[in-house]
């Protein structure tokens, strides 16, 4: 009797410790914040509830430090299992073989790869491998302050777009009118941090036939189209004074900018804005209306201790049902979600028709910024060049020629 009890208790102890060893704790790394983070935490909990033996903990690192911190974690043998990765970090992480090939997952019928546009996956492919699945496929849109347009008596970008007159000349004229008739700046093209110069600037370059790098990844910032685009922005900054000078911290959400180029997720910061705003497509240039497609994706890190479980979790996150839920914050790459009524009405601040015009309809001409694996270094040089460019008396084409010489010399 006593012996039986002992055996029972020992086997119970063994069983529980065995179950404990079976428990897999996946670490999910992200830079999400606010409601987006809450949703991810909720998804992690739901996944754990559906899959006994798997726990998912969500770890947050702010975007500015994200790639660096994850790299340090991987180097010190403390790698997260699954995580987000932004487009500009993809070449570096691919070159150092830090990502797991997911092609067995994407080849799975249930995953339904054809649901993703070919352009959406190209960044994440290398050879035959697929090293990530985008969850956000976000063309930049033009935010505009309706109140300022009204005060300056200028026809709004969306109205001009529907009339077919929304080009860069109209953009410049609108910005000048707002600067002259209100105490605000007409527009901001770049973000506050010059290191993020590509956001906003690239759309203007592409629409003028310019580029940052050509197809062989040589510097194209001094190509005729790029020079035309930079001359326009330089003139708007110093002749019209309708764009803020470098270092200026004026933000759109503060109400002192007429127009601003950013991803649609920026609308989360306009929740309490004390003015009316809308979104519109970017203006049209001599080479068409091209906007920048920003991407971020889910990846499994190669040093993950649980690659199988991590892939299963990624499959869950990238499934149509879950992507329909994250779409509220991130424009979904899956066509089935993007064109659904549920997605178009998911943001109460933006009417479905406007979202369709400014975002969904611009996707076919939107481009991803392709960079080489030494982009971090090139970006630093380019940021320095752009700071020299935005000086009152700068000779635009001379500065750009010199800049390209430096970039190609790296």
């Amino acid at each position: 009797m006593k012996r039986l009890g002992l055996i029972l208790s020992v086997s119970a102890l063994l069983a529980t410790s065995f179950a404990g060893a079976q428990k897999v704790n996946l670490r999910f790394s992200t830079w999400a914040g606010g409601d987006g983070l809450t949703l991810l935490q909720q998804l992690a909990q739901e996944y754990a509830a559906q899959n006994a033996g798997v726990q998912v903990s969500v770890e947050v690192t702010p975007f500015a430090d994200y790639a660096r911190k994850v790299a340090v974690q991987i180097a010190s043998g403390d790698s997260p299992d699954v995580g987000w990765l932004a487009e500009q970090s993809v070449p570096t992480f691919l070159a150092s073989r830090s990502l797991l090939d997911l092609s067995s997952l994407t080849a799975n019928r249930a995953f339904n790869v054809p649901d993703f546009p070919v352009s959406a996956l190209s960044l994440w492919k290398q050879g035959k491998g697929v090293y990530g699945v985008p969850f956000s496929n976000s063309p930049q849109v033009l935010f505009y302050n309706k109140d300022l347009f009204k005060t300056a008596a200028v026809v709004t970008p969306l109205q001009q777009y529907s009339k077919g007159t929304w080009d860069y000349a109209a953009f410049r004229a609108a910005a000048k009118a707002i600067t002259d008739k209100t105490d605000a700046f007409g527009a901001r093209i770049m973000r506050l941090d010059v290191k993020a110069w590509n956001s906003g600037t690239l759309g203007v370059l592409w629409s003028h036939g310019g580029n940052a790098f050509d197809s062989s990844l040589k510097c194209a910032l001094n190509s005729p189209g790029s020079v035309r685009a930079f001359q326009l922005m330089h003139d708007m900054t110093f002749k019209d004074q309708s764009l803020p000078r470098p270092g200026d911290q004026t933000t759109f959400q503060g109400g002192r900018l007429g127009m601003y180029i950013d991803n649609v997720s920026f609308s989360a910061q306009l929740k309490d804005a004390p003015f009316k705003w809308g979104i519109a497509p970017l203006p049209k240039g001599p080479a068409g209306r091209v906007t920048q497609l920003g991407q971020a994706g889910y990846v499994v890190f190669a040093r993950s201790a649980y690659p199988k479980e991590a892939q299963a979790f990624l499959q869950y996150l990238a499934s149509p049902t879950v992507m329909a839920r994250t779409a509220k914050f991130f424009p979904p790459p899956r066509k089935s979600v993007l064109t659904s009524r549920a997605y178009l009405t998911s943001n109460p601040a933006i009417p479905a028709a406007d979202l369709k015009t400014a975002l969904v309809n611009q996707l076919p001409s939107a481009r991803v910024f392709r960079t080489g694996d030494n982009f971090l270094r090139a970006n630093d040089v380019i940021a320095g060049g752009i700071e020299r460019l935005y000086q009152p008396g700068a000779n635009v084409s001379a500065v750009l020629n010199d800049l390209c010489k430096q970039v190609d010399g790296l």
């Binding site: 660096r68 570096t92 150092s96 073989r97 000078r245 200026d248 320095g384 700071e387």
Partner: protein
Amino acid sequence: MTSGARPSRPVLGRRALNRRGREGWAGWLLVAPYVLGMLIFVIGPLVAVLGVSLTQWSLLDAPRWVGLGNYARLAADPAFGRSAAVTGVFTLGILAINISVALALASLLNVRLRGIGLFRTLIFSPVVMPVVAWALVWKFLLQPEGPVNSGLAGLGFGGANLLFDPATALWAVILIEVLKAVGLNTVIFLSALQGVPPELHEAARLDGASPWQAFWRITLPLISPTFFLVFIVTLIGALKLFTPVYVLTGGGPADATTTLILYMFKQGFQFFEFGYASAVATVLFVAVLGLTLAQWALRQRLVFYED
């Protein structure tokens, strides 16, 4: 007597040795926390940096041995040369302005006046302010449309953008750093000035020395040990200064404020080239060490009246 003392000597000696041995062990035990801490957290990383500087290492992959390759690359890197030049101007600028202003302020504060304590407090107060807060306030003041640039525009310098113009950014950063740090040097100089015996000045005045002569011939030599200390501390501080520059400009515009320490940070934490960054760190370390040793040698000739 002697024969009785002789056998006892080795015993005594052994005992003394044992005691000395025991004391030695106890001594080592007592300093162990410090020595271990020093070895693990100071000497260890220092040697590790030297080792890493001989490799190519992105953190993501395994370090690859490249010997002196990083140093050869440094020597040929024009950006490193530009950064060294920026560091030279930055360090000399801070040394010249900080020390001369601190000395002038200390002389002004070294008088007996009602309310002089208030002035001393005012000048010292930036020293106790958190450096990031100080830099952020100045960054705000120096916005393109901010109070400083608007004020300059009002004075006829239209279009001034001090912190974002490559021609003026470095000097703006130097002045902001001097304003922050000058209080400490002022207080050190003030205490040295108060140690100068007044009768020497009185005698000089009676002999017909001008105040300027008295300062150069009496005050300065008498405070030369302090002057030397302030010089070294300010020099090393300027060479190592990171936070305010990083917060104010991040090294920009167009690398105009990229001192060697920022250059090192960029190589490591922005470009993930930890081997190359460690080579920069080593060069900087050797430079600071060399300058300090040179000054130590000069001290023999330049410093008077030292105990």
